[in-house]
């Protein structure tokens, strides 16, 4: 089961803070991040890739985003 971050309804910087906390605690597990606006989607994607994680999948439905990230291996 991937870790899940539900940041819907929250505005920056909280979705990014929650994503970074999840990255710290997830180890090698995937993380599923849920946000409900494009700014938060952009912000969490930037934060995750900045930490070396990869965007595995993005589902967009009715303004909501489910962003699946997994750890990149250098």
């Amino acid at each position: 089961m991937p870790h899940e971050v539900d940041a819907r309804g929250l505005s920056c910087p909280q979705p990014v803070l929650m994503t970074l906390q999840a990255i710290q605690s997830a180890g090698n597990d995937d993380i599923c991040i849920r946000v409900d606006n494009s700014t938060s989607f952009e912000n969490v994607s930037r934060a995750a890739t900045g930490k070396g994680w990869l965007i595995a999948n993005v589902e967009q439905n009715d303004g909501e985003y489910r962003v699946m990230i997994h750890k990149g291996f250098a």
Binding site: R8, G9, L10, S11, C12, P13, Q14, V16, L17, L20, N37, S38, T39, E42, R46, A47, G50, V58, Q60, G63
Partner: protein, 361 residues
């Protein structure tokens, strides 16, 4: 997934540069010196234009504020990002808006004007910038410790339209009650005959430029407070690149137009009391951080349908009225008679809001 180039680092830096150029051009075409764009000052002028305060030098229904909201509204609508939402501690956000304005008017400018004052050579703005940095830093400590104003929820479409409609209404008033040469009142509106309120670019230039800025800022998520916050909190330079581009572009424009005048004494619409320039912006910076956006960003979010951000903007207009009516606002002569008390009370309120919204683990 459609890629939004404006929200890339190159995009936000470009937008920052464009804003810097346009701000200095607005000064060149009539806006007050080092005040091509100042969200706090312009909302203060709107409060004066409506007669909510009666400081004779700062009364004008600035079309830039209307253009910012409406430009963002247009962008959000065109790119399907208009999303009526609200309900995340609205009253707290309103109070933070009041406090932010009170702090900003002790310094005499919002974060946008901090950068424009620096770009114009105003050394006093260094203390304002340091204060802003300190205020935002305190805000990040709250966020690190679980500060949250709670989740927003989807609202009826009508609530997202409220602030854009208020802005259309204000614009209509500005068009109906045009300034009359030598008269301080035109219909229900007040105008300044001298001082910063009397200095303004022609209406249509201000409006077109601010619509462009509102549009670009909504697309790029440009935020002057966020720029500092993200550097402190995440060591991330993304938004900061926009802020630096604004400063660099405005500086180059000032050098080209001969309006770069380095020094501390006699700077336009500025005072030299370092401590209070610093402290005013600590209060404002903390309030902006706790509310999640600089005053410009709050307007752009309002244009996207965020009614909490709209309430913050209305709080700032209220704060301007309180500042001038109660002698809290500074002038080029120095801080107001109750400016010191305002800073302490503003800091106290912001800290209480910060501590009062830490999530219990």
């Amino acid at each position: 997934m459609k890629h939004n180039w404006f929200s890339s680092t190159a995009g936000v830096a470009t937008v920052g540069g464009v804003i810097g150029v346009l701000a200095v051009l607005l000064q060149h075409w009539g806006n007050p010196p080092n005040m091509g764009i100042c969200v706090a000052c312009f909302e203060r002028d709107i409060a004066g234009g409506l007669g909510l305060h009666r400081a004779a030098l700062v009364q004008y229904l600035r079309p830039e504020i209307m253009g910012f909201v409406l430009g963002a509204f247009l962008a959000a609508f065109l790119f399907k990002e208009f999303r009526p939402r609200g309900g995340s501690s609205p009253l707290v956000r309103y109070v933070l808006g009041v406090v932010a304005m009170i702090g900003a008017l002790v310094f005499l400018g919002c974060p946008w004007r901090v950068m424009l004052r620096l770009a114009g050579g105003d050394g006093n703005a260094i203390f304002g910038f340091l204060g802003l940095l300190a205020g935002v830093w305190i805000g990040t400590l709250f966020f690190k410790n679980g500060y949250t104003l709670g989740k927003t929820s989807e609202q009826h479409a009508a609530s997202g339209w409220i602030l854009p409609l208020v802005m259309i209404g204000l614009l209509a008033l500005r068009l109906i009650f045009q300034p009359i040469e030598g008269q301080a009142q035109s219909g229900i509106l007040w105008y300044s005959l001298k001082g910063p309120g009397a200095a303004h670019a022609p209406l249509y230039i201000s409006l077109v430029i601010s619509l462009v800025v509102g549009f670009l800022a909504q697309r790029s998520r440009f935020c002057t407070m966020g720029a500092l916050r993200d550097v402190i909190l995440f060591r991330q330079m993304h938004l900061f690149s926009g802020l630096i581009a604004l400063l660099a572009a405005a500086l180059i424009m000032n050098l080209l137009l001969g309006s770069f005048k380095p020094g501390f004494i006699g700077q336009p619409v500025a005072h030299t009391q370092e401590l209070w320039n610093f402290a005013g912006m600590v209060v404002a910076g903390l309030a902006f951080a706790l509310a999640g956006g600089c005053p410009g960003r709050q307007l752009f979010l309002s244009g996207e349908g965020d009614s909490d951000a709209g309430l913050f903007a209305l709080g700032m207009i209220t704060g301007a009225a309180i500042s001038h009516n109660f002698g809290l606002a500074s002038s080029p002569d120095g801080i107001g008679p109750h400016g010191m008390a305002a800073v302490f009370i503003g800091l106290l309120i912001s800290m209480a809001i910060g501590f009062g919204h830490l999530k219990r683990s």
